[in-house]
């Protein structure tokens, strides 16, 4: 069974956090201050979003002097992908059994 993807899904349920993650992916190691530039929110707000991403394992921070630089981590995304694949496969099997139980599948023209 795949690891619990809940924290990843929860973290990425927010548009702002998804945008921040995209920005970190695009820019590489980046500080909260850099991520705040041009944002309609404070550095503190950005830091809170980064903390959620960090808790979900989607980013990690490394301190250099007074600054923390954040880098994206693909591992939790792989876990989420695994959950999606496992869940889809499981339902394919279950629905096939349901079809057998109630009389079979009908011709389905739906793509």
């Amino acid at each position: 069974m795949a690891a619990d993807p809940g924290p990843v899904f929860s973290a990425l349920a927010d548009d702002t956090r998804r945008a921040l993650l995209r920005q970190i992916v695009a820019q590489g190691p980046v500080t909260a201050t850099q991520l705040t530039v041009g944002q309609p929110m404070s550095r503190q707000a950005v830091a809170k979003h980064l903390a959620v991403l960090d808790e979900a394992g989607l980013i990690s921070g490394s301190r250099r002097g007074r600054e923390v630089r954040y880098l994206a981590d693909p591992a939790p995304l792989a876990q989420a992908r695994s959950w999606i694949d496992d869940t889809a496969s499981a339902w394919d099997v279950r629905l096939s059994r349901l079809a057998d139980l109630v009389g079979g599948a009908a011709n389905d023209d739906q793509p």
Binding site: R18, R22, A26
Partner: protein, 156 residues
């Protein structure tokens, strides 16, 4: 703010599967709510005073909390479930049936529920889940994962 790279297509909200069955809606409804019929296709389904559970194909017992058993239109069943004894996902399953000319369509949607914090037991998570919002995004992760993986390879 600089526009983020447009490399993340919108992800589906959840896993969704559909099948068209050569059966009446009534028969299909029964298969979605009767424990004996659920046991025949979903997994060993048991209901007792202590709760409802099902043992699925992977041998995992899941605690089940019915959220909607036969919706207002009697065509929707919703439950939340979570593996017992594992720090597994808490998810919500929505099954809807629609009558079509060629049969009855069954559509299953399963989405991980967001949680405020990790939990120590499935029952706690289930009882705490009533206010948890369902995941409302999903698909762009996959493209993002690919981008990150490529970056990892390039770094090597």
């Amino acid at each position: 703010m600089e526009n983020p790279p447009d490399d993340l297509p919108d992800l589906a909200e959840s896993v969704e599967r559909s099948v068209l069955l050569d059966a009446t809606p009534d028969l299909v409804r029964d298969a979605l709510v009767r424990p004996d019929l659920l046991s025949a296709w979903l997994g060993e389904w048991s209901e007792s005073d202590t709760g409802t559970s099902v043992v699925t194909d992977d041998g995992v017992r899941r605690l089940v909390e019915r959220v909607v058993s036969h919706g207002a239109d009697t065509n929707t069943v919703v439950w939340r479930w979570q593996p017992v004894g594992l720090d597994g996902e808490l998810s919500e399953v929505t099954i809807s049936i629609t009558e079509e000319a060629a049969g009855t369509r069954v559509t299953v949607r399963e989405a991980v529920l967001a949680r405020a914090s990790t939990h120590s037991s499935a029952s706690n998570a289930l009882s705490a889940s009533s206010s948890a919002p369902a995941v409302s995004w999903l698909p762009s992760l996959l493209a993002l994962g690919a981008v990150l993986a490529l970056g990892a390879v390039a770094a090597v």
